[in-house]
């Protein structure tokens, strides 16, 4: 590398992760030498719950962590917990999770008109019919699990339910279960469905416990799920370390996104000290291959997960604001201009650009953009020419303009989303 890089202030880092497909970038950075190349040694600490990631990051047991994109925002705003400012200098990918229902619930949905691989509109409509049938028959509502109150899974599941005419707080019961325990809860009938990251959907399918009825890539293409999160004070004390870590993870994301490396990546993730799940599940998830229902067919979801393509690691501030809008929508925080500004500033494209400056990465020039503004591929101005992103309109057709947040929230209050 010809650019002079100042050495990291701290060479040895403790980084927390939850066993999931999208912890890949961190694992690859350590195992394939990308961290070492930036003068860093990574100690990856596996945690079972997001509360542990949050608490250990707050008290400094962890320098940085694989975090739900909403977690640093919630921590900065003090939602449901201590107010500790955090930043996300990069995202760790797009997509990567799905909604799975138990085989009995799937059968009820099929009886209510769901066909194989019907997509999120059809599955949402079928679920709405089942919910009404159960209510009419005096049955308790379906229990659906997600991984954490400020997870994109919670917001995605609620978005899908609400757009399908199901009230997430009244018509179903939402519970929290950590990702590694989801399949067991579904198999034992304690829940009727869940929204979780891979490989846990594929594992439920291969165990015959459930069927995928919607994926994140169909609900909202190019949407963020995990970020690299850290306390703001730590990031400010260690600017060179943050930059080196972003470069290492950016390079690791490029490696992980290359289909030529997917076989090796599946084996790496399968290891007991990493995610500890069958390599076959990772192979399927990396290819975006899911079952279409009990008949045993499969289909492929385009861009089910992306680590590097389409600026997947760029911390778009419009994504931070979309998540913030969902926090307001579901009553986790009262809206104010000050809170929205804090949420937006949690995602730090400036740190991302500073880290990668002088390299050959194509980095978007804008911090934010309109989500779902077009149904055609979008040209985004970047440091090296133009990036072309596929359309990213959410499945219900709602456009999110981060500069018109108040209009979006007002439309939610009125019970309709702006088209």
């Amino acid at each position: 590398m010809t650019v002079h890089r100042p050495p990291p202030e701290q060479a040895h880092l403790r980084i927390g992760f939850i066993p999931l497909l999208d912890s890949a970038v961190l694992i690859v950075a350590r195992e394939c030498g990308f961290a070492e190349r930036e003068g860093l040694s990574l100690d990856l600490v596996r945690e079972i719950s997001w509360a542990n990631i949050r608490d250990r990051a707050i008290v400094g047991h962890l320098d940085a962590a694989h975090m739900l994109a909403g977690l640093p925002i919630a921590s900065t705003l003090g939602i449901q917990h201590l107010r500790v400012p955090m930043v996300a200098p990069m995202a760790l990918g797009i997509g990567g999770n799905a909604i799975t229902v138990s085989t009995p619930l799937y059968e009820a949905m099929a009886a209510a008109g769901l066909r194989a691989a019907g997509g999120p509109h059809a599955s949402g409509a079928a679920l709405a019919r089942v919910v009404r049938q159960w209510a009419a028959a005096g049955r308790p509502p379906p229990i659906l699990a997600m991984v954490y109150p400020v997870s994109s899974h919670n917001y995605e599941l609620r978005y899908w339910l609400a757009a399908s005419g199901v009230d997430p707080d009244r018509d179903v019961q939402l519970v929290v279960i950590p990702p590694p325990l989801m399949v067991d809860a579904l198999e034992t009938g304690r829940i009727d469905g869940f929204c979780v990251g891979e490989p846990w959907n594929s594992l439920a399918e291969s165990a015959g416990a459930g069927h995928v009825v919607a994926t994140k890539a169909e609900l909202w293409p190019l949407s963020p799920d995990k970020v690299l999160g850290m306390r703001t004070d730590w990031a400010e004390r260690n600017p060179n370390t943050v930059a080196a870590l972003v470069r290492a993870l950016y390079a690791a994301a490029g490696w992980a996104d290359d289909p030529a490396n997917h076989e090796a990546l599946a084996e790496l993730l399968a290891r007991p000290e990493h995610v500890d799940a069958p390599a076959a599940c990772f192979r399927r998830a990396l290819a975006g291959r899911f079952g279409t229902g009990p008949e045993g067919g499969t289909h492929t979801i385009a861009d089910f997960i992306g680590f590097h393509r389409y600026a997947a690691t760029f911390p778009w501030q419009c994504h931070a604001l979309w998540l913030y809008a969902q926090m307001v929508r579901w009553g986790q925080i009262a809206h104010s201009a000050a809170a929205a500004a804090l949420a937006r500033a949690t995602f730090r494209p400036d740190l991302y650009r500073a880290a990668l400056a002088g390299g050959d990465a194509a980095i978007p020039l804008a911090d934010s953009r309109i989500i779902g503004g077009t149904t055609e591929p979008m040209a985004v101005a970047a440091t090296t020419g133009t990036l072309v992103l596929p359309p990213d309109r959410p499945f219900d057709g709602t456009v999110f303009d981060p500069d018109r947040l108040d209009a979006y929230l007002a439309a939610l209050d009125a019970g309709a989303l702006p088209a």
């Binding site: 608490d55 008290v59 950590p178």
Partner: protein
């Protein structure tokens, strides 16, 4: 002296580790006016928490059901938002202590901090005591294992080099010092090597 049961603090201990849970319970009971309920089973948590109606919940930090519990507490109380004890804005140091000890606590109603603090301190103290106990037990176990392997290594040296016990021990000791390793490690490598070389015991 009769006590008003209403004045007693209702504490729920959720722990899959039965010994630690009982150490914790004992400590809390000697600490004063407290009713302690222990559960280890996480199924149907909401109904059980509702039945017990605790004012404070103590749970192990590494318990995988902590996320579930937090969300249950958030949705089950109308209006009164639960406060996580160790995340009071002024209590960073106490939270550090709690995390170091491996304990997490949740206050589920508007309980006064002065009543909760001794409970929390007792929990941290007891979790630490349990960790120490377990460490001592592990140390004792590994010391016993060390002694056994050193005895076997000495026996091997005495037979193959025809030296007495003391000379065998000194030889092991010298080698360990030279290689900057523990005596037990040198003994273990000798025992492993001997097993590999012994044709009758592949």
């Amino acid at each position: 002296m009769s006590r008003d049961p209403e004045a007693r603090l209702r504490v729920l201990v959720i722990d899959e580790e039965p010994i630690r849970a009982s150490i914790l319970e004992e400590g809390l009971l000697t600490g004063g006016d407290v009713v302690v309920t222990r559960i280890s089973e996480m199924h149907d948590l909401l109904a059980r928490v509702a039945a017990i109606d605790p004012q404070v919940i103590l749970i192990a930090l590494e318990n995988p059901s902590r996320d579930t519990l937090e969300q249950l507490l958030q949705v089950s109380r109308d209006g009164t938002r639960p406060v996580c004890l160790f995340v009071d804005q002024t209590d960073g140091a106490q939270m550090q202590a709690a995390i170091d000890a491996g304990v997490s606590a949740y206050v589920v109603d508007g309980l006064k901090k002065e009543r909760v603090r001794p409970i929390a301190e007792m929990a941290i103290h007891r979790f630490n005591a349990f960790a120490r106990l377990r460490r001592e037990l592990e140390d004792a176990r590994s010391q016993l294992a060390d002694r056994k392997v050193i005895e076997r290594a000495k026996g091997l040296l005495m037979r193959s080099r025809r030296i007495d016990e003391e000379a065998a021990y000194r030889l092991l000791q010298r080698t360990a010092m030279k290689q900057n390793k523990r005596l037990a490690e040198i003994a273990q490598s000798l025992v492993t090597a001997a097993a590999l070389l012994d044709e009758t015991d592949p």
